[in-house]
């Protein structure tokens, strides 16, 4: 058990035993070491299954929406990037922050099991972070990797190690900001010709099996009834003109979350088809920054995002679509 995990479980136990909270949202060990899943703990007894290891990439903030409806006070463990999603949910009245205790916890970047498997390592039994290195133990021995080889995409281009909200923090080791530019992938796409770009997205989106995992995990997707599930919206029942039209789902979804997406990267993490969905969202974020000034959704739990606000500094929309117009 690592030090951070130890402290987290200890704190969870205190909170439950003192009845300061009724529930704790954290991660529960799965069938394997590398598949912990989000879980609600209501008793000290249940905490024996609590884990916090290198594979706890899941953003827990969205689980509050349903759990809070059942009543009671909840403690939730949020990594730096998850705190932004939490604020965004508070802003949209999806979460009552007074009913939540946010325990902000250390994160040195989470691991991508798929990348480890690609390296030829299977049946992982434990991982250990050692500075810029990760030692992966498996049933068949152990292997050493440089961190950037095995981190999740969202962690490689981590937007910030700052907590946007925290009632208390559990940090043992210093968290270093990454030097990677999270928009370089978008810029690569922007350099493509329209035909190339269309071909790229057609290729990527055609892999989609419409499992809706991206939507279901997305903290910005909390509609009572999603337009794609609503027969009356005219969208759910519409027969696609061609096989690709169906995949426009992702474009529409990117529009729906634009200005509210915190770039938590969960969509790409959970996609079983490995579609780089974060690129769509990041394109919006990049354009918002360019046209309306730098903006990070979820930095605060109130205020308006640039897409639903007008200021005189905003770029002129007609000029903006033509290219190089910027926020004044």
């Amino acid at each position: 058990m690592n030090k951070v995990e130890e402290l987290i479980v200890k704190r969870a136990r205190e909170l439950l035993s003192s009845k300061e909270v009724d529930k704790v949202i954290g991660w529960k060990k799965g069938e394997f070491y590398f598949d912990p899943s989000p879980a609600v703990f209501t008793s000290e007894e249940e905490l024996k299954d609590f884990v916090y290891n290198g594979f706890c990439g899941a953003n827990l903030s969205k689980y509050l929406v349903q759990e809070l409806k059942k009543g009671g006070k909840i403690a939730v463990f949020l990594k730096p990037c998850d705190t932004y999603s939490f604020n965004e949910l508070v802003k949209e009245h999806r979460v009552d922050k007074n009913a939540v205790k946010v325990i902000a916890i250390e994160c040195q970047g989470k691991l991508d099991i798929e990348k480890i498997k690609e390296k030829g390592v299977s049946a992982v039994t434990e991982t250990e972070e050692n500075g810029e290195e990760v030692i992966v133990s498996s049933l068949y021995g152990s292997a050493k990797f440089r961190k950037e080889e095995v981190l999740l995409e969202k962690c490689l281009t981590c937007k910030s190690k700052k907590f946007a909200v925290a009632d208390e923090t559990i940090v043992v080791n210093e968290m270093k900001e990454t030097a990677n530019d999270r928009f370089s992938g978008v810029e690569e796409l922007e350099r493509m010709s329209e035909e190339e770009r269309f071909a790229f997205w057609k290729g990527e989106l055609s892999k989609c099996i419409r499992c809706n995992a991206c939507r279901n995990v997305c903290p910005a997707c909390t509609c009572v009834k999603c337009v794609f599930d609503n027969n009356a919206s005219g969208m759910a029942t519409k027969a696609p003109a061609d096989t690709f039209e169906e995949q426009m789902f992702h474009i529409i979804r990117a529009y729906h979350v634009a200005g509210r997406c915190t770039d938590c990267g969960e969509c790409s993490r959970v996609c079983p088809q490995h579609i780089p969905l974060h690129l769509l969202n990041r394109k919006f974020i990049k354009d918002i920054n360019r046209l309306y000034g730098d903006f990070q959704a979820g930095e605060a739990d109130e205020g308006k995002n640039p897409l639903i606000e007008y200021t005189e500094k905003d770029a002129d929309p007609t000029a903006a679509v033509n290219g190089e117009v910027r926020h004044a």
């Binding site: 009245h93 999806r94 009572v224 999603c226 609503n230 919206s233 005219g234 509210r260 639903i308």
Partner: protein
């Protein structure tokens, strides 16, 4: 099954010359749901409307499509006709086959094809129309006039005359505006103050008019009949209710370096001052930039000398909130900044002045007590040259593309007055064109030329420069086809005018649109010249476009007539095409309220049944139909698609798009 009637208008030859109306009617006949299809020369005529009414009766129509001009022209006409026959007026749709089709196409084949598509599109929409009923909203029987110049004063007086309460909000310490600064007025040459100040006094004495000077509109909420306005009453440091206007404070104020704005900064005034003798209210104001007491804490002389204890250095800005049914914008103008016009040397030579500065130099209450002395050495100028169109009709970045309209006449006035008062003075006027339409205007200009011997030179001035104490005005004489240089003692620039810059903020607050020159836009340039496109907001004076005093006064009275017409009503019919939230889908995220410019959206906690005896309380949006203006911003913002606009539902728009795309 819907029973739809389609009526194609020829609009004389406006549509019929480019669109084969017969073919459109024929093509539409076979559209599903269409039971009647006809065309007629003028659908808006009595006979055209009768055709529509007869068809509704005879064919039991449930929906009507009229292919005609823009809905802005005759939608109301056809809706009324349908209503008279018992059909809900909102079951009528207009296909714009004039502005959107016949007027912009030359090819008859293409235009006819497009007209058919546009009419089919309107049919697709009308199939999804639902009958709508207008609600009612009350009317606050009080008007706000923004700006206390002659436009605002006239509008306020007329509104008060009809028995309604009206507030004038003026940002300066007194009402009167630009007209108060003028000496004489064309074309009758009566003194501006003599005709303006009685009106100012009438305002002050009216028990219906509340004058809020030194005040600015801070915030506007609400809608026609129900505006809620926040007004900032700037700290005057003098109690308006106590000050008697005795001017003892002015005489004792040691700070005399403040520039006298009323005299176009040509002389100085004390830090505590009354702008001019006939100011309304006749109450002093302290300029905090100049007051020694406010700046350094040392002085306080005026407070000691004031016999009624009116001075209060601790005064702060106050925000008051009032409700109004109608708003008149009369924010006026200012001369443009001419520093950029290097060729006229305005910033280098004291004796190059603007026309408004000349007004003050000629005025008995001005810095020279009405004796025309040039600013540099206080001597009588013997040769005076006027330059017209300085910054007007100017397509460079320095000036304005429009004609300022008043300069030809006031320059003729100035020239005439100078020749009258100082017959030994030589007066030249450089002009591009002399524009004097208006009652007795051309006669006035001709008098200047013919009776007063003013030398009018057609041509533009290239340069004004100083040579041995003379201002050399170098220009071209296009009639003689020669270059001329006139050594002058005084040069007067007929400076272009522009809307008061504060109008931009006010336009934003009122959601009233402004054009590229910052003039407020009227609802229709010919038929709704005093209405702004925002219901309940009216425009008077130069804020809407350059105009002289007679025009301004007429427009102000026209505004008042519109305001009175609104305020006599006890309630207004509201537009039923408003937003509505589908509570079963709304998740209360607040995005719609964030974009709503009218504050029409609030949230309520509502209990929903989930089945199995369970319930859930959810925060959902509620649209106040009386406040909603139907702009649709919320509908496109709502991520859940819970918000929709009645009469313009997303489904209707989509069906229109699909119809246009139909092959």
């Amino acid at each position: 099954m819907q029973r739809i009637g389609v009526f194609i208008c020829w609009c004389g030859s406006n549509i019929a010359a480019t669109v084969d109306v017969e073919r459109v009617s024929e093509a539409i006949k076979s559209e599903p749901g269409v039971v009647f299809s006809a065309n007629y020369q003028y659908m808006c005529s009595e006979n055209g409307q009768q055709l529509l009414r007869n068809a509704i009766k005879e064919y039991h129509l449930t929906g009507v499509v009229v292919g005609s001009c823009s809905p802005r022209m005759h939608e109301a006409t056809f809706r009324k006709a349908a209503e008279a026959e018992g059909l809900n007026p909102y079951m009528v749709e207009i296909a714009n086959i004039r502005e959107h089709c016949s007027w912009i196409h030359k090819d008859r084949e293409e235009a006819t094809e497009k007209a058919i598509i546009l009419v089919r599109t309107a049919i697709a929409k009308v199939k999804l129309n639902a009958p709508l009923t207008a609600g009612e909203s009350p009317v606050t029987k009080r008007a706000l006039v923004i700006g206390g110049g002659i436009a605002g004063i006239q509008a306020a007086l007329d509104i008060a005359e009809a028995g309604f309460e009206v507030d004038i909000v003026e940002k300066n310490p007194t009402i009167g505006g630009r007209m108060a600064q003028l000496d004489k007025t064309f074309p009758t040459l009566d003194c501006a103050a003599c005709i303006l100040t009685p009106k100012m006094v009438d305002c002050a004495q009216s028990d219906k008019i509340d004058i809020l000077t030194y005040s600015e509109v801070e915030d506007v909420k609400g809608f026609v009949g129900n505006f809620k306005v926040k007004i900032r009453r700037k700290a005057r440091f003098v109690d308006e209710t106590k000050c008697t206007g005795c001017k003892i404070c002015m005489d004792n104020c040691p700070s005399k370096k403040g520039l006298n704005e009323f005299n176009m900064n040509l002389n100085n005034r004390p830090a505590i001052y009354i702008p001019f003798a006939q100011a309304i209210p006749n109450v002093a104001v302290i300029d905090p930039e100049q007051c020694l007491k406010l700046k350094s804490g040392k002085c306080g002389l005026c407070q000691k000398k004031c016999g009624v204890g009116a001075i209060d250095y601790t005064m702060t800005d106050k925000i008051i909130e009032r409700e109004y049914g109608a708003i008149v914008v009369a924010t006026g103008f200012r001369p443009i900044n001419i520093d950029k016009f290097n060729e006229y040397g305005y910033s280098e030579n004291k004796d190059v002045i603007t026309s408004l500065e000349l007004e003050r130099l000629m005025n008995a209450a001005g810095p020279t007590n009405g004796v025309l002395l040039r600013p540099s050495d206080n001597t009588h100028p013997k040769v005076i040259t006027f330059i017209q169109c300085v910054g007007s009709r100017d397509l460079t970045d320095c000036g304005k593309p429009y004609c300022s309209k008043i300069c030809c006449m006031y320059t003729a006035k100035h020239a005439m007055l100078i020749r009258e008062k100082y017959p030994d003075t030589e007066v030249h006027v450089f002009y591009i064109d002399v524009r004097c339409p208006g009652k007795n205007y051309d006669e006035f200009y001709r008098r200047a030329c013919e009776q007063y011997g003013v030398d009018y030179i057609k041509g533009m001035v290239g340069k004004v420069y100083n040579q041995n104490g003379k201002l050399m005005v170098q220009g071209s004489n296009l009639i003689e086809n020669e270059q001329v240089t006139i050594p002058s003692d005084l040069v007067v620039l007929a400076t272009a005018i522009e809307p008061e810059p504060s109008v931009r903020k006010i336009a934003t607050l009122l959601t009233a649109s402004i054009d590229t020159n910052n003039f407020l836009t009227e609802a229709h340039p010919k038929l709704k010249p005093v209405e702004s496109p925002t219901a309940g907001v009216y425009l008077a004076g130069v804020c809407q476009g350059p105009k002289d005093i007679p025009e301004t006064v007429s427009q102000a009275s026209a505004c008042a007539a519109k305001v009175i017409g609104l305020l006599v009503k006890d309630s207004l019919k509201t537009n039923p095409c408003v937003a509505q939230s589908d509570e079963s889908m709304c998740n209360g995220c607040s995005q719609c309220a964030n974009v709503c410019a009218y504050g029409a959206i609030t949230y309520i906690d509502k209990e929903f049944r989930l089945g199995g005896g369970k319930t859930e309380t959810r925060r959902v949006a509620y649209v106040n139909p009386a406040v909603c203006q139907g702009c649709g911003a919320c509908t496109v913002t709502c991520p859940s698609g819970a918000m929709d606009l009645k009469g313009f539902a997303s489904k209707q728009i989509m069906s229109e798009v699909e119809e246009i795309c139909r092959k």
